[in-house]
Structures are given as structure tokens and as C-alpha cells.
């Protein structure tokens, strides 16, 4: 615990403000000290200490264990090997970085464009698209990737369909290799950008945009110079998530045969039994992620993004632009088709007979047998219930802890802020397998962080794993929406007598809600689809749906696997619609309507 100062002890508590030597009050009553609030200088530590402890126990310490393993007895030997080696390591690192950077770019373009279309235009069917927009994120990882293959690979529906259509010799426009990986990444990860951007657009001060128009900027220019920069916290948050996810992405490179990636190398080294080398790769992965994170932090920290306007301006710029409206409609229809294509493919598989679909463009024979198979199994719904329950618990945990950490990192001034930020995000940067193995080592025996309980083999290890893995999602998007929020609102509440908790609950949290909800949705969806960590820690009572799907895939019951996949997608769709209601879908429609009058 003494190696890194994530949680400075009370004795070294520094002053809260920029004040170098605060005057020491002669006598301060205990009640005053502990009844205080965000203003007092110990408050950040009281708030942050338990969080830091959790992170330290679950993320940082295991990460250091990994690092220690990579260093091993012979110090830098593994790293020398990593760097000098036969070039695999270096090219793996470079490929991973290229894929990650390209994914960030592509997801950014798609996600921001979708957010713009849906939040700034109102047209028929907008609500529906808003509900299905997250479906790609809900695709079960393995099935999802396979559906992309069935769609876009050399033997896929689209290339083969085009081939037939044009009577071409070869499949037209097949995706393979890195391009294939990028397609999958773009599809599955643009929701990070979409959610963050829409939350940020909702919370943005519209008069700033008006000012830019007034100074003569055209629409594109306003986006480039005002809106996008103002969205920086959201974009940074999404970039971080996409970058790290891509870096740790496994299935897509695997399916498209790109094996020179960091995660593939980790897997191969583990298969080789070369654990120290695998740890070396994992550590490098962690270091790259942390460097990216620090870079983004620096970039974001240079400017301020919160409205400095007086009073509250409403979204009330009025544009009547029939062309824009129709363009938005067409673009959205197209987007819908593309979005739903993978789901439709899964549906095709689910309704086709196993083995009946080989060289045809679409399956020849249809059946409902796959669903019958599932529904006739009395325990078929157990995995679904398990997944729902565990994801829900984890999501609640993520929201509580994630929002508080976001608040601490954004608003409180204390030593170790940056470290806390890094600690949270580390869990996201690490491959799920590593997180799971870390958890197993931590909870195989009782220890302080589990209050002496052995958690392995119990129900709780699963939500815990989801919590640790998906905390960064909630943390990031909460943090982004907090960056927009004028702190004087909280001050006003405090001034009116609200305790910190009350002000936080009734004002700050309420106004960050779009961001928090976006993060929570992502966490929940990911929880339901989680496989790599689950498979290492599940028990027969807690088998999640992803494990069930995987088992079917493993025994090549693609049809039933797809049927399960469909169930999962439908489930998440329902959750999405419900939460959309919760957040006030009507409000968002109204907001969009405002922009098109």
C-alpha cells in the first residue's frame, strides 16, 4: 500500500484551495469538521478514500501484480525481449495502435453525426431510431462478430449479393483484415460517441452557438469551431473508451485474422504458457492506455467548457430548412438499415436450419426449431435472468461509485486526482481475462477488501467483476457531463442551506443525469453481453447468457446460439425503450423539434 500514494493519509492532507498556508482556526468543533461539506479541506479525502480503497484493491494492486510478474526475477528481460524480439511485439503494438486510432476516428464521425441528426432534426421515425441506436452495442460479442462476417466478409451476404447482382466473378466489396476489424469496431463502438455527444448537446448553452452564427460562421464552421470544441469533454470521454476498447479488442481481430495485435499476442503467450511474457504485453497495454489517458486529460484540461452566460438560455434558435429535414430523414433511414443489418442477419441464422445456409446469398430453408429448442428447455431463461440481475446490481454500483468519483475528480481539489482518474480507467484498459484472473487471485481467499469473505464460487464475484470492468463507462460519461455544468448552481443550492448531499442530489446530479444515464445504459448493456471475464468466474448458478451462447457456438449449434442472441438483443432493446421513457423521450423529441421548428 505504500508504493503509490493513491490515498494520502490524513496526516499529509494538503489545503483545499490554492492557498499555500491556510490560517489554522484555533478551535474547531468536531461537529463543524464532520458536518462540513465540499468546502472543507478534508472533505475530498473522506469522499474519495473508500473509493480509492476499492480501486486500489480491485484494480491497481492486481495491475501491479501483473506488472511484477512481467518484471519477474530477471528485471527488464521480458521488456528487452518485447522490444528486440523478432518484431512480432513491435508490429503487434503498432497494429493495435493503428486500429485503435482509426476506430476512434470512425466511431467519432459516425457517433457524432448520428447524435447531430437525432438531436437537431425532428422527422418521422426519429423516436424509433433513437431506440434502436444502441442495438449494435447490444450484439453479443461472438455472434455479433460472426454476423458481420456473414454480412461483409468474402462469403458474406452483401459481397455475394452484389456479386450476383452485377454478375461479377468475385464477391464485391468484401471486408477483410484490418478493414473488417474497423467495420466491426465502428458498428459496435460508435454508441460511445453517440451517447456522450447527445448528452452533451442536451446540456450545452445554446446561446454560444447563436453567438457564432451571429459573427458570421456557417453551419459547418460553427460545428468545427464551437460545437465540437464545446463537446470536448464528451468526445474525450468517448475517445478514451473507444481507444481502450479497441486496444483490448479480441474477437474482431480474431475473426478477421488480424493476429498481430496486443490482445492476440497476450492470448498466444498464455497458450504458450509464457505467463511473464503475457504479463509484459498486458503491462505495455496498460502503459499505452495510461499515456493516452494522460494526453487526453491534458488536452481537455487546457480549456473550460462550461457556460459562462448569465441566466438560462433556452434552445430556441429556429430554423426552417426543409432540405435539411429531408436529408436527415434519408440519412437516418439509411443508418437504420445499416444498424439493423447485423441484427437481421442474426435473425436469419436463428430462423434457418443449421447447415442449410452455405453458398446461398440468404438461407434456403427456414424453421422455428431453434427457438423451440430454447423454450422447451425448462432452464432456458435462467441465464437471461442471471445476466439481467447481475448487470443490474453492477450498474447500480457503477452509478453510485462512478458518479461520486467523477465528482471528486472534477470538482474537488486534492492530491492524487490524476491517479484516481487513471486507476478507474485502468480496469477498462486491461483485457477482461486479466481483470477476471486478478479478481480470482484477490478473492480466492478472504482478504481485507472482501471483508474476509471468499467470493470465488459465490454469486457476488460476477457483479463485482462487472462493476470493476464497467465502472469506467459511468465514470467517464458522468465526468463529461459534469464538465459542462456551471458550479455556481451547486453553490446557489448550498447558499440556500442545502447540505452537500442535498445540493448534489437535487441540483448537480439532476443536471448531470443525461450523462449518467448514458453511462449506466452502456454499463448495463455491456454487463449483459460480458463473456471473457464471466467465463472464468461463473458458477452453474450464475451462468450468464453470454456463456450459454458461447456453449452453443462451441458445439456449433449456430442456430440456437443466434436464437439466444436474438433474445438478448430484444431484451436490451426493451431496456433501451424503457430507459428512453424514463429519461423523457418526449422531451428529447421536443428538443429536436425546437431546432427544426
Amino acid at each position: 500500500m505504500s508504493t503509490i500514494p493513491v490515498t494520502p493519509s490524513a496526516a499529509t492532507v494538503p489545503p483545499v484551495t490554492e492557498d499555500p498556508t491556510p490560517p489554522r482556526a484555533p478551535r474547531r468543533r468536531l461537529a463543524d469538521r464532520f458536518g462540513g461539506g465540499a468546502g472543507s479541506r478534508w472533505f475530498p479525502y473522506v469522499l474519495v478514500f473508500p473509493l480509492a480503497l476499492i480501486l486500489f484493491g480491485y484494480v491497481v494492486q492486481p495491475m501491479f501484480a501483473t506488472f511484477a510478474e512481467s518484471v519477474g526475477v530477471n528485471g527488464v528481460a521480458n521488456y528487452t525481449a518485447f522490444l528486440s524480439g523478432d518484431g512480432v511485439a513491435r508490429s503487434a503494438l503498432v497494429t493495435s495502435l493503428i486500429i485503435s486510432a482509426a476506430s476512434v476516428l470512425l466511431c467519432g464521425i459516425v457517433g457524432v453525426a448520428m447524435a447531430f441528426l437525432l438531436k437537431r432534426f425532428s422527422f418521422p421515425g426519429r423516436g424509433l431510431i433513437e431506440a434502436i441506436i444502441l442495438v449494435p452495442a447490444a450484439l453479443p460479442p461472438l455472434i455479433g462478430a460472426i454476423s458481420f462476417q456473414l454480412l461483409y466478409s468474402e462469403t458474406g451476404i452483401l459481397p455475394r449479393g452484389l456479386q450476383q447482382l452485377f454478375g461479377a466473378e468475385n464477391p464485391v466489396l468484401p471486408f477483410s483484415g484490418i478493414a473488417g476489424v474497423l467495420v466491426v469496431h465502428t458498428f459496435t463502438m460508435y454508441p460511445y460517441f453517440y451517447l456522450a455527444t447527445s448528452a452533451a448537446l442536451t446540456g450545452m448553452d445554446p446561446s454560444v452557438e447563436e453567438a457564432a452564427y451571429n459573427l458570421g460562421a456557417g453551419r459547418v464552421r460553427v460545428w468545427r469551431t464551437v460545437l465540437l470544441p464545446m463537446l470536448t469533454p464528451a468526445l474525450v470521454s468517448a475517445s478514451l473508451l473507444v481507444f481502450m476498447t479497441s486496444l483490448a479488442s479480441y474477437t474482431a481481430p480474431l475473426l478477421f485474422g488480424v493476429d498481430r495485435t496486443m490482445t492476440m499476442q497476450i492470448y498466444i503467450n498464455r497458450t504458450n504458457g509464457d505467463l511473464p511474457m503475457a504479463s509484459t504485453y498486458a503491462s505495455v497495454l496498460g502503459v499505452v492506455s495510461v499515456l493516452f489517458l494522460l494526453g487526453m486529460r491534458w488536452y481537455e484540461g487546457r480549456r473550460s467548457y462550461r457556460s459562462q452566460s448569465k441566466g438560462v438560455a433556452s434552445h430556441r434558435r429556429e430554423i426552417t430548412n426543409p432540405f435539411g429535414r429531408w436529408a436527415a430523414l434519408v440519412a437516418s433511414l439509411l443508418a437504420t438499415a445499416v444498424l439493423l443489418a447485423p441484427v437481421a442477419t442474426i435473425a436469419l441464422v436463428a430462423f434457418s436450419e443449421d447447415g442449410s445456409w452455405t453458398t446461398e446469398v440468404i438461407p434456403a430453408a427456414y424453421t422455428t426449431a431453434n427457438f423451440v429448442t430454447i423454450f422447451s428447455d425448462p432452464e432456458a431463461f435462467q441465464p437471461i435472468l442471471n445476466s439481467l440481475q447481475m448487470s443490474l446490481i453492477a450498474t447500480v454500483g457503477c452509478v453510485v461509485v462512478g458518479v461520486l468519483i467523477a465528482y471528486a475528480v472534477r470538482r474537488l481539489d486534492f492530491r492524487g486526482r490524476g491517479l484516481l482518474d487513471v486507476a478507474v480507467m485502468l480496469a477498462w484498459a486491461l483485457p477482461g481475462t486479466v481483470v477476471a484472473i486478478n479478481l480470482i487471485s484477490a478473492f480466492s481467499t478472504g482478504n481485507a477488501f472482501s471483508f474476509g469473505q471468499v467470493l470465488i464460487g459465490t454469486f457476488w464475484i460476477m457483479p463485482l467483476a462487472y462493476f470493476v470492468r464497467f465502472l469506467p463507462l459511468v465514470f467517464r460519461s458522468s465526468s463529461a457531463s459534469l464538465a459542462q455544468l456551471d458550479p455556481s448552481l451547486e453553490e446557489a443550492a448550498r447558499n440556500l442551506g442545502a447540505s452537500w448531499w442535498r445540493a448534489f442530489g437535487s441540483v448537480t446530479l439532476r443536471l448531470m443525469l443525461p450523462g449518467v444515464l448514458a453511462g449506466a445504459l452502456l454499463a448495463f448493456v455491456h454487463g449483459v453481453g460480458e463473456f471473457v471475464a464471466s467465463v472464468l468466474i461463473y458458477t452453474s448458478d450464475t451462468a450468464p447468457i453470454s456463456v450459454e451462447i458461447n456453449n452453443r457456438m462451441y458445439s456449433f449449434e449456430v442456430g440456437t446460439a443466434a436464437a439466444y442472441g436474438m433474445l438478448q438483443v430484444v431484451l436490451i432493446f426493451v431496456v433501451m425503450v424503457l430507459s428512453g421513457r424514463l429519461e423523457g423521450g418526449r422531451r428529447s423529441t421536443r428538443e429536436a423539434a425546437r431546432w427544426t421548428a
Partner: protein, 328 residues
């Protein structure tokens, strides 16, 4: 939770039995059903977790401090040996051990072979007739198969690692000169159209005729062809098929008593016969009644020294991975 913390053995009551298995869910369900029928005291006490072979190793390794599993059912010789050398497995002396060929089991009784997996040439029988299919390993290098071969990606698959290592040892029995083997594999790589990410992917690619040939284990070829309606056929290579051993073990620190009982049961002659018949398993022990397909199978093992492979596999596969793959 599982484990053998509080051994309250004896009589009709039985301790919980946790099994990590890489076997197909259908197989494991079938076996467990039979097992609890025979030993009713285990009813409701057998917990089956279906995992990948590699995941079992990971899990057992990670749980070393407080083992959760009792039986490790399904793993390559290499994987089990690794487990044994990391002191994860408990030595036992089951009754069937005597009947088993020494090369199919651990000398100290820490793991036992269960089934034999001959690696054969697989082809799409809608695209190729049996006559057109290559007859031996070397035929795969012919130019006519350029880009027609789909290979389950090697480095991450125990099966494929074994096949590729065997191809090297085939040309250098003591493993001292892997170069001819490397050259052979390079030519194979040149003919390989795509590497599949996992078995499912392999089946999909092959059935959808992205390629028409592959190297794969006999059991899965037969299962896919017969149970999943897949257009697959196989060729027993003329020079012989590398035969892998897939085995099982009792996990150290677990319910060893129950594990031994389960292992004994698995080698029950009747059960073995059923599994051979239904699931195309080739048992690692002699069985009384062979199903027809097995009796007719002209299994021709490739004569390779698995110890040599075990020693060199990592190095060779790493070499293949970095210097040969996608370079031929």
C-alpha cells in the same frame, strides 16, 4: 461453493462435485445423467461448467489458492502436463489405469487420456468428390489447392499446434532440425486462403466454400457431418494421422474422492461404447463393443515422439507465427 474444505464423507451422502469440462454440453449432460443415475447420492450435487480447454487451465491456475473444481475433464496432453507440472493436479490410482497404454497417461497418475483424436484432412464434400480430395499431407502443397485451404488459426489452438509440430517432427524425428518442417509449413501457408478464428468460424468458412480443405480432428468432422448436417468428409492421410490424446484429471485440493469415482465411471465399458457410438469418440482404452464406424476405421497413427513435440512446441509455433504465417 465447491472444494473439499469440510470433508464429511461416508455412506449415502456425497460431497458436491464440481466439474470443469471442455466437452460438448450434450456429452457432459449425457454423462452426468448416467452418473447420477448410478450414484443417486450425487443427485443435484454435480455441478458442470462448460468451458474451453484453455479457460479450464486459466481457471484452475488462478484458483490454485482455493480450488473450486474437483474434476478437469477435457484437455490436451500439453495442457494437462502443464497443469501437472504446476502442481495443480492430484495423483490418483483408478482401476482402469492398469489397462491404459503408458503413453496415454501421466506416469504419476496425475492425468489420464480419455479419448484419442486423430488429425485428418477435412474437405467440403459438396465441392469435392472423395476422389478429388488430396490423399496425403504432402498433397496439400499442390498448386491446385492455392487459397483453397482454411486453417483454424494455429497459435491459439492446442489441436493445430500439435498438428503443425507433428509436421515438423515428421521430417526431423528428434526435432533437432526444424528447417525442413518450416519450409513445408511455409508452402502450406502459401496455399492457405484464410485462418479461421475458432472452430465455428472454420466450419462456417468451409461450409460456405470460402475454402474447401482443412486439417481437423476426426471426431469433430464426423460430429458435424452427422449431427449438424455439414457437408464435410475426411481423408485418412496415407502417411498417417497425428493422434492427440485428450484427457482428464482430478484437481488438487478438491474433492478427490468424488473425482476418482467420476473418473472410474467415465471409463465404464458401457458408457464408453455409447459415447463412441453417439459422439464418435475413440476411447484411450480398449472397449468390448466397438461401434461400426470405429471398427471399420483404418486408423493409421503418424509415428511421432510427443515428448519431442512437448519440448519444442512453443519455440516452433512462435517461429511459425512470426516468420511463416502469411509469408508463404
Amino acid at each position: 461453493s465447491g472444494g473439499g474444505d469440510d470433508a464429511a464423507g461416508g455412506g449415502a451422502t456425497a460431497e458436491k462435485l464440481t466439474i470443469y469440462t471442455a466437452r460438448d454440453k450434450k456429452v457432459s449432460d449425457y454423462v452426468v445423467e448416467q452418473f447420477t443415475a448410478k450414484y443417486p447420492e450425487y443427485k443435484g450435487k454435480v455441478e458442470i461448467l462448460n468451458l474451453g480447454a484453455q479457460e479450464i487451465l486459466e481457471r484452475v491456475r488462478a484458483e490454485k489458492a482455493n480450488p473450486q473444481a474437483d474434476v478437469w475433464w477435457g484437455g490436451t496432453q500439453q495442457g494437462l502436463s502443464a497443469g501437472a507440472s504446476e502442481d495443480l493436479l492430484a495423483p490418483i490410482q483408478p482401476s482402469f489405469a492398469g489397462k491404459m497404454d503408458a503413453k496415454y497417461k501421466d506416469a504419476e497418475g496425475r492425468w489420464f487420456g480419455e479419448i484419442l483424436l486423430p488429425e485428418v484432412i477435412m474437405y467440403n464434400n459438396k465441392a469435392l468428390t472423395p476422389e478429388q480430395a488430396p490423399k496425403d499431407w504432402d498433397d496439400l502443397l499442390k498448386p491446385e489447392w492455392k487459397d483453397k485451404i482454411i486453417i483454424r488459426d494455429v497459435a491459439a489452438s492446442g489441436t493445430m499446434r500439435s498438428i503443425y509440430s507433428a509436421m515438423i517432427v515428421r521430417q526431423s524425428p528428434d526435432g533437432s532440425n526444424p528447417q525442413p518442417g518450416y519450409d513445408w509449413l511455409k508452402k502450406l501457408d502459401a496455399n492457405t486462403g484464410a485462418y479461421a478464428a475458432n472452430p465455428t468460424d472454420l466450419y462456417l468458412k468451409l461450409s460456405r466454400q470460402q475454402g474447401t480443405l482443412s486439417a481437423w480432428n476426426l471426431q469433430d468432422v464426423l460430429l458435424q457431418a452427422n449431427q449438424s448436417n455439414m457437408p464435410f468428409g475426411y481423408v485418412m492421410p496415407a502417411s498417417g494421422a497425428p493422434v492427440l490424446v485428450d484427457g482428464l484429471a482430478a484437481v488438487k485440493g478438491g474433492n478427490t474422492e468424488g473425482a476418482q469415482k467420476f473418473l472410474e465411471f467415465l471409463f465404464d465399458d458401457k458408457l464408453r461404447g455409447d459415447l463412441a457410438k453417439e459422439y464418435f469418440q475413440i476411447p484411450a482404452v480398449e472397449i468390448a463393443e466397438q461401434p461400426e464406424w470405429l471398427a471399420q476405421l483404418d486408423l493409421k497413427p503418424l509415428d511421432v515422439d510427443w515428448d519431442v513435440i512437448g519440448k519444442n512446441e512453443t519455440e516452433w509455433i512462435n517461429h511459425w507465427n512470426s516468420q511463416i504465417k502469411n509469408k508463404g
